[in-house]
């Protein structure tokens, strides 16, 4: 199942230097709970990679393993290696990881709710050691990307709407000047209009700043619309990987993630009463 | 919680039973006999030690229901105990009510006082609430001293009459031991029953997630107030017993420090378990007693050391114990006990 996929979609990507490579990692919580088994993935510079998978598959854990944020939940990478920009970063200090250029936007829109929008952005500039003017410029860039934020810059962030908060936390992550942005379910609980807004912004970030992005997303349709490649994680293992085109044509993926029935037409929920769960890749 | 394999429960009824194996029965009977014979072998001071520890257990079980079960931290338990002591003293000394009714009076009086301090729980949460119970301590002292001397004896306190049970006056350490023991046993059972009842589940629900509790029909305010009430009922009972045992009530007996100790007992014993409350109370009282006895001896061996080093050491040791438990055994003695029990029950075939 682990096909070697050529990056047909991406001109020039080829086997050029990889930005991030996760090689056969195993992750455990509290020393015992094994969550990821032999997971490998990679992200090339300037690439958007989607990580799909059902609930509890270990997607968030994967991201947190890369950013080392699992440490605060007593998690550790117990096998394998994570290399970023040629350095090993597994089980590193999360603060140092941010300095290296890997930043994670955690699921659930973690606004620093008693601080204003602008203060939220300022906090994130801490890791960069930028000077005042550079910080100012970064902030203006974020405002340019998300004009709503400029409007609410002095508003207490806890009272923003969900969509605005999502924009803020993405903008905040950009303040650390990342080379790799890890996004965990950016569309969670957002209205359809906002989901597309957010993903368009993600695409713009990738296009205009050149930031590589690894995004975990349940909404496979939107994710695959923007991603160059993708992985599917089930039960702590990578069960599928491929380019956008390959994934979009995969029968399993179509059925379980895109909601396209075997007949090729869109499935409807009305006729799933007698539906039985089945997952070919687990069989 | 931990059941040996092969010991399947056949039905829900079995699943919910408190005592499951013959060994547990045997151990229980052994414990009962031991408790009954204890004063015969212990001598006066250790018998009294057991009595006071028993009274402490009653108060700490109450606090366990409030803190461990309902999640409302209180530093007022000692004051609630004081209220119980005073109400019992008024009933016994002023109104001449015979034993054991003054104990009920103490418990009820403390319950009312405690529920009063549970009321702010409707709005105030977390540390804010925990520290408002501090006010209970100050208000208790303030009121006792300032109300007319004819009520609570003001600054002089109230002397307790000797309790008479079936015509026998109780005035020896042994007598008090046997007087207090049934209350301690009853408190343990009551604690376990409450823990496993609908009420107990509601408390835990309130502790773990008050939004969820409210939406499933649990009136969070009501249950918070009730748990304050229950905790103070236990405290009041303990206070009344202590009044009899000390033969005197005086507000200076019920200090903030005592409340802090009670919380320490919960930590060392284990949060949320009645066994934990019992073990924690015994452990800390024992440490205190041993240091009081051993401290001066120790000082004797240290050249140049003075007595005033020996006694504050109790607090140092206690504080250290609490911290060590929090770091290395946050689930307390109860957890250690259960692990040990499991080991021995399965021995020699641990799987």
């Amino acid at each position: 199942m682990h096909d070697v996929v050529a990056f047909a979609d991406r001109p020039g990507a080829g086997s050029a230097a990889e930005l991030l490579s996760v090689a056969n990692i195993e992750v455990r919580y509290q020393g015992t709970i094994l969550v990821l088994k032999n997971v490998s993935l990679h992200v090339a510079p300037g690439e958007i990679v989607a990580l799909l998978g059902s609930n509890g598959a270990g997607k968030s854990t994967t991201l947190k393993a890369i950013s080392s944020l699992i440490q605060s939940e007593e998690g550790r990478v117990t096998e394998g290696a994570i290399r970023f920009d040629g350095m090993n970063i597994e089980n590193d200090d999360p603060v140092r990881t941010v300095r290296r250029g890997v930043v994670q936007v955690m699921e659930g829109r973690r606004a620093l709710e008693h601080m204003s929008v602008e203060q939220n952005l300022l906090v994130a500039s801490a890791a960069t050691r930028m000077n005042k003017a550079a910080i100012r410029r970064s902030i203006e860039e974020v405002y340019a990307l998300f004009p709503v934020l400029a409007e609410f810059r002095n508003r207490q962030s806890g009272y923003l709407s969900g969509g605005q908060q999502q924009m803020m936390v993405i903008g905040r992550a950009l303040m650390t000047r990342p080379k790799l942005l890890l996004l965990d379910e950016p569309s969670l609980g957002l209205s359809p209009l906002l989901v597309s807004t957010i993903f368009e912004a993600i695409a713009r970030i990738n296009r205009e700043i050149g930031t590589a992005i690894l995004v975990v997303e349940q909404n496979a349709r939107v994710a695959l619309k923007h991603a160059h490649r993708g992985y599917v994680l089930e039960n702590g293992r990578i069960v599928m990987e491929g380019t956008r085109a390959e994934l979009l044509n995969n029968e399993d993926l179509k059925e379980f993630y895109l909601g396209i029935g075997a007949s090729g037409s869109a499935k409807t929920y009305r006729d799933i009463k007698h539906y039985r769960r089945r997952r070919r890749w687990l069989g | 919680m931990y059941r040996a394999c092969g010991d399947f429960s056949e039905s829900y009824r079995n699943d919910m039973r408190l005592i499951r194996t013959r060994w547990q029965w045997a151990a229980l009977i052994l414990l009962a006999v031991g408790l009954l014979l204890y004063p015969q072998v212990a001598g006066g001071a250790w018998t009294r030690f057991a009595t006071v520890t028993g009274i402490t257990i009653v108060a700490v079980i109450g606090l366990q229901i409030l803190v461990g079960l309902s999640g409302q931290v209180s530093v007022g338990q000692s004051a609630f105990m004081g209220v119980g002591g005073y109400f019992a003293a008024i009933a016994a000394a002023r109104l001449g009510v015979p034993f054991p009714l003054p104990i009920l009076a103490g418990a009820v009086g403390a319950t009312l006082f405690g529920m009063l301090f549970g009321l702010p729980a409707a709005r105030i949460k977390g540390f804010y609430l925990a520290l408002t119970t501090l006010a209970a301590q100050f208000i208790f002292e303030f009121s006792i001293v300032r109300l007319p001397a004819g009520w609570f004896g003001a600054s002089a306190g109230i002397a307790m009459p000797t309790p008479v049970i079936f015509g026998t006056p109780i005035n020896t350490p042994e007598g008090f031991y046997y007087m207090v023991l049934p209350f301690v046993v009853a408190a343990c059972f009551a604690g376990v029953f409450i823990l496993r009842s609908r009420l107990g589940r509601a408390f835990v629900a309130v502790r773990d997630n008050d939004l969820a509790a409210e939406v499933t029909g649990i009136n969070v305010t009501y249950y918070k107030v009730v748990s304050f009430g229950i905790a103070s009922f236990f405290a009041g009972t303990a206070g009344a017993l202590l009044a009899y045992e000390n033969r005197f009530v005086h507000f200076e007996q019920f200090t903030l420090f005592e409340s802090i100790w009670f919380l320490g007992m919960l930590i060392v014993g284990g949060m949320g378990s009645i066994l934990g409350a019992v073990l924690g109370a015994i452990a800390l009282r024992l440490v205190q007693e041993l240091l009081m006895i051993g401290g001066p001896v120790l000082v004797g061996y240290l050249p140049g050391a003075r007595y005033d080093i020996a006694f504050p050491l109790v607090n140092v040791v206690l504080g250290t114990t609490i911290i060590l438990f929090l770091i290395y055994q946050p689930r307390g003695l109860a957890h250690i006990y259960r692990k040990g029990e499991r080991f021995f029950r399965l021995w020699p075939f641990p799987h």
Binding site: - | G44, S155, G157, H250, E252, E289, D308, A310
Partner: protein, 370 residues
Amino acid sequence: AQETYRIVSLLDYSGPFANRGTPVEQMQRLLVDWYNETRGAERGIVLEFEPVDTGYDQAKTVQAYERAVQDPSLIGIVTFGSPNVIAIQNRLPENRIPAVHGGPAYSLMEPGSWVFTPLNDYARYYAAAVDWKLASWEGADPLKVAFVTFDGSSGRDWAAVFQTLIADKNAELVLSEFISPRALDVAVNAERIMDEDPDMVILATTDQLQPLILGELHASGFDMTRVVNSQHEGLALLAMLGVAPEVYEGTYEVTSENYVDQTTEAYQIYDARKDRYQSRWSADTLLHFPSIVVLLDAIDRAAEKAGGARIDGAAVYAELANGTFDGRGLLQEIKFQNDVDPTLGVRSVVMLQQRDGKIETVSDFLPLAE
């Protein structure tokens, strides 16, 4: 043959009066050692002295007491604060062990008590001070008295008794002021005192409050010769509490202890041994001087009567109940009457005054009210 007995001292190494624990213990040790070296040696008696912490706490006291009475050689107890007395006064007769209390007497001491109190009720001291002042009072109006104490059980006890004692005197109690022991600032209390313009201010507070209130009164230009300090925070202690001498220059102390007089046997005993102990000749330790000396005297007399046979607590009790004592000259004569009123210890007090930085005796012995 040598007989060994045990004396237990219940005192505070922790709690609010922790700072007094060691000096008191040291003074008690000094006296027990003095006894063992002198008359004890003659009679073949060795007294073991065991101090125990009770932390100003009844429950702790009871437990310490129960431990103490396990030892059959226990023949007497000395106590330190009111919680000690409260905790053990009902238990002593059952165990047939007498106790001698170091502090002042309180109204909560019950007739028939086995606790003997060489000092008297402080309220009577203050009333005696009022009498002394009245003796030279020439004002047309009654003497205006302000009573200032701390907000605690002892303070309230004194205030209540004091009020009844001066009711029929040519004096008017214009103010009873209770100050919280935790008060950060006593300016308002000092103001209230001065607002009443009293002819006499009785200050009976705590080690913490006394310096503050004296300082505040002095700073406001109050006539300090109207101030009478309690024996508890006596003139000799004030210096140690760090009060500048000019602040309390002219103030008085009403005391039952003749501590200025360095010719008493009590002082001689102390003076000869003071280098070996960490104690001092000052209000806090002297408070507990008579109790241990009275107990030692009673033990000695009981042993003398027994003529070499072993004695017990009851024998010591009999001596305490029937004999007379004087704390080796530190106090005037004491004849306990516990059956009638256990608060009656010493029967007279004396007025001292701070003059030019020195303490002087300014009155004869004044009798205390019954």
